[in-house]
Amino acid sequence: MADEARFRLRIRYAKLGRLRFLSHLEIMRTVMRIVRRAGLPYAISQGFSPHMKAAFSAALPVGCCGLDEYLDVQLTEYIDPGEAFRALVAAAPESLPVLACAYIGFEVPALTAGYPVMTYRCLMDPGACDDGVARVQGALASLLAQGSVTVVRKGKEKSILLSEKIVGTPHVVAYADVEEDGSGAPADPSLVWLSFAALVTESGSLRADVFANAVAAQADPALSVRWLTHVATFERYSTEDECGKGRPL
């Protein structure tokens, strides 16, 4: 007999290092097992195939680390958040740490719908050249001028408008200006960071790795994408001060 779900616990976790090779499905299963190992009294859906009532934030592509990932799980009982947090931390593997958890009201929007802005950072290898930053900037400018990216979906080529899926202004950041974030990115000062923000919409999103690869392909010879990290999730983006606003937790 599944009890009424009375509490909604939002959990924040990270996907680091070698776990970037896991698919979203593998991540979801792993996180749900963390919840079970923590012994949390999760609510179960009714019906033929009962499963944990849980909702995840947007999927990351394989190869992408994540510093700001979320899961909303419904509990049937109130557990002290500090206790819940400790239990989750103990149940999590090293490269998938649980960072925070808190109860949220049922009126708080669901993760993908309510927090559609995802900021990313990718490390580009400019290759042998005098000014790596300039090369990457050039490639970026070239793609932005083009205004769209072509992807192949279900065997058909489809053009995605950057103006619809990218918010704010993607820009290049010097290697030295980005702090160590624990994701495991290579320590190589010749590499250049590219920062951008993408939107998760009902009609789909532009995958972060697709965008990064599209920028890389603009240069000749092409740049190579060495690392990709999802940095943060936001409710909305403010183009005035070029930053995201409203975090899930």
Binding site: M1, R29, R33, R37, A91
Partner: protein, 622 residues
């Protein structure tokens, strides 16, 4: 001391992982893995197939757990990379590595490779080659690890004996830590490889192939070269099974497994005595875990692992004397928790209405029943003590309890089989379908799906049919045709195993030392992952046998004279040859032999030879 340095190869592996299919096979750092970087003696256990297949193997999970318990000993894991990854590794010069520490497999003291079935032999060579360990045991030096084999194929290890230093026969949970401790002690004393292996031969249950040679004119049989080496190596058995932990499964993989669940081994051994079944002979005696231990382990296992499904595993779980009680208690404890309990397959005659309702929770996989033969006469020949009334009862009880998918397993090519017996399979399937439908109103008849799988009988060592040659390939194909043509179509899906791969399996199962050259030649010509149909190439095997000048049908199809020495005669599972000979006679007369856990001793010899007893918790009802 080893010539290959122990180092963390992750920085070299990482660039390759991103290019390989299913990267989660190669990344390690799973929850529950044990890493003891300060250990002074290091073992690595290899399952000769992919990660996702190997992680389901309970034997290795148990050994991993037991070895890691020993002070100063560490045990890590390795699997065979899929060809795309191993190609990348060879190109980049990255050797086979362990998961926990990313250390080269060749840097370990002990390399243990389990042998679950004959189709894994080429993968054993692939693993050794990727590791950079000399394929032939005779070419290894003091700097190379000791390579130990174990698992079901070690009951006839001769075809791959050339590639192993030692075999651990039988249950390894006590044996392998003993071996490790002996090896560590001798290694620290500066002993040579030869001295260590000689000492291994003195440990109970260990076979050292280099200390034996082919007997003259004795058809592949093998004899000791020295007096201090046993003429017959008898398997190890764990007498106090309940004292072993039911919670040996510790690691939770990230990757999707063939079965994503927590496995609890509820009993070991089976005394039904089905005459084709090697496992039923070699895992005796029968030892059950108590209901208390099982229930506790299930609850604990779910909590420690985070899985939502538990499987109660064994050779024949529905034979457990306390299973109804176990299931009742578990259904109560786990109600509303969103978890479920499954049983690998249901023994036809133990599966009645009560069982159907108790296992009602788990219907996703289908109701699995294995009548094996289509006529009562054949079932008596193979001693599968199941009659048609039992089968129909199981089917109707299952459908009544909600099952709609029924899987039936059969075998063809059994001794004394006739075409009438083959058509008997089809007729039986027809009656099963009718019985299943009879439980439901006509409108729902189409919801019943029956899948029939028919494999080719492979005679195995240590069974009453071990002297029997496999039916030749052309005849197998003819019999498959007879079956195909008579099989009902409506609601029935029929699949059958290839005669070709079964032929190779049969040759390897009853082969002798001369086959190692064939296995090596097959691997050199590109064979690996033989268990995967897309990789199995019958032509390559035939060419390999040709190149070496061996006729595989001599091993696969020839009948062996009863009473003559056998290539596996020097390895004993405890069952006496006289018992097997008697059972062979009884098969000829279609006489059945009862299960000693239900009645009294049937004289197989295990309890006497090994000083053990069956350990059944309740009363088994026949």
């Amino acid at each position: 001391m080893s010539k290959v340095a122990r180092e963390d190869l992750w920085k070299d592996i990482e660039p390759l992982v991103g290019k390989a299919s299913k990267p989660s096979r190669y990344i390690n750092h799973e929850f529950g893995a044990t890493y003891k970087p300060d250990a002074t003696y290091r073992a690595v256990l290899i399952y000769p197939d992919t990660y996702e297949i190997g992680m389901a193997n309970q034997g290795l999970a148990i050994l991993y757990h037991e070895l890691n318990l020993v002070d100063g000993v560490s045990c890590e894991r390795a699997y065979v990379p899929w060809p795309d990854m191993s190609d990348l590794m060879r190109e980049a010069g990255v050797p086979l590595y362990s998961l926990e520490g990313c250390a080269p497999v060749a840097s370990f003291d002990l390399v243990g490779i389990t042998l679950p079935h004959e189709q894994c032999f080429t993968n054993v060579l692939e693993a050794l080659d990727l590791a950079g360990i000399p394929l032939h045991a005779c070419d290894r030096t003091d700097d190379d690890p000791i390579v130990v084999g174990g698992g079901p194929c070690s009951y006839n290890p001769e075809p791959i004996a050339a590639f192993f230093d030692v075999f651990s026969i039988g249950e390894g949970e006590e044996a392998l830590p003993e071996f490790a401790q002996m090896h560590r002690r001798m290694r620290d004393e500066g002993a040579t490889r030869e001295q260590i292996l000689r000492e291994a031969a003195h440990l109970e249950g260990f076979y050292v192939p280099s200390l034996y040679r082919l007997s003259n004119g004795a058809g592949g049989a093998v004899e000791p070269r020295f007096d201090d080496v046993p003429a017959c190596v008898v398997k190890r058995v764990v007498r106090d099974f309940e004292a072993t932990t039911p919670l040996s499964q510790k690691i939770v993989p990230y990757a999707e497994m063939t079965h994503d669940r927590y496995a609890v081994e509820v009993l070991r051994g089976c005394a039904r005595g089905c005459r084709f079944c090697q496992a039923g002979m070699v895992y005796r005696p029968v030892r059950e875990r108590s209901a208390d231990q099982v229930v506790g382990a299930v609850v604990q296992g779910l909590l420690c692992s985070g899985y939502d499904e538990v499987s109660l595993t064994s050779l024949s779980t529905t034979d457990h004397s306390q299973l109804p009680q176990i299931l009742r208690r578990l259904n109560q404890r786990l109600e509303g928790s969103g978890t479920s309990v499954s049983i690998p397959s249901q023994r036809v005659d133990a599966f009645g209405i009560e069982m159907a309702q108790l296992v009602a929770g788990e219907k996703k996989a289908g109701l699995t029943l294995a009548p094996e033969a289509g006529t009562q006469r054949m079932r008596d020949v193979i001693n599968k003590g199941v009659d048609e009334a039992d089968l129909m009862n199981a089917v109707t009880a299952g459908v009544d309890a909600g099952w709609r998918n029924i899987k039936l397993y059969f075998m063809l090519g059994l001794p004394f089989e006739t075409d009438d017996d083959l058509r008997g399979i089809s007729q039986l399937v027809e009656r099963v379908a009718a019985a299943a439908r009879s439980v439901l109103p006509p409108a729902q008849h189409n919801s019943i799906h029956i899948s029939v799988s028919c494999s080719v009988f492979v005679p195995k060592p240590d069974t009453p049919f071990q002297w029997c040659g496999q039916v030749n390939r052309e005849e197998v194909e003819r019999r498959q045709r007879v079956l195909r043509e008579s099989m009902p179509r409506k609601g029935v899906k029929f699949s059958w195993h290839g005669a070709d791969s079964s032929f190779i399996e049969a040759a390897m199962a009853r082969g002798d030392r001369t086959l190692s050259a064939v296995i090596e030649e097959a691997w050199r010509s590109g064979q690996r992952f033989d268990a995967w149909t897309e990789n199995f190439s019958f032509d390559r095997w035939l060419h390999a046998a040709d190149a070496v000048g061996i006729d595989l049908s001599r091993f696969a199809n020839a009948d062996l004279p009863v009473g003559e020495p056998l290539p596996w005669g020097h390895i004993s599972c405890g069952v006496s040859e006289r018992f097997l000979m008697r059972e062979w006679q009884r098969a000829r007369d279609a006489q059945t032999t009862p299960d000693c856990t239900f009645t009294t001793c049937t004289g197989c010899g295990v309890c006497q030879r090994l000083s053990v007893d069956n350990d059944v918790k309740g009363v088994r009802r026949g």
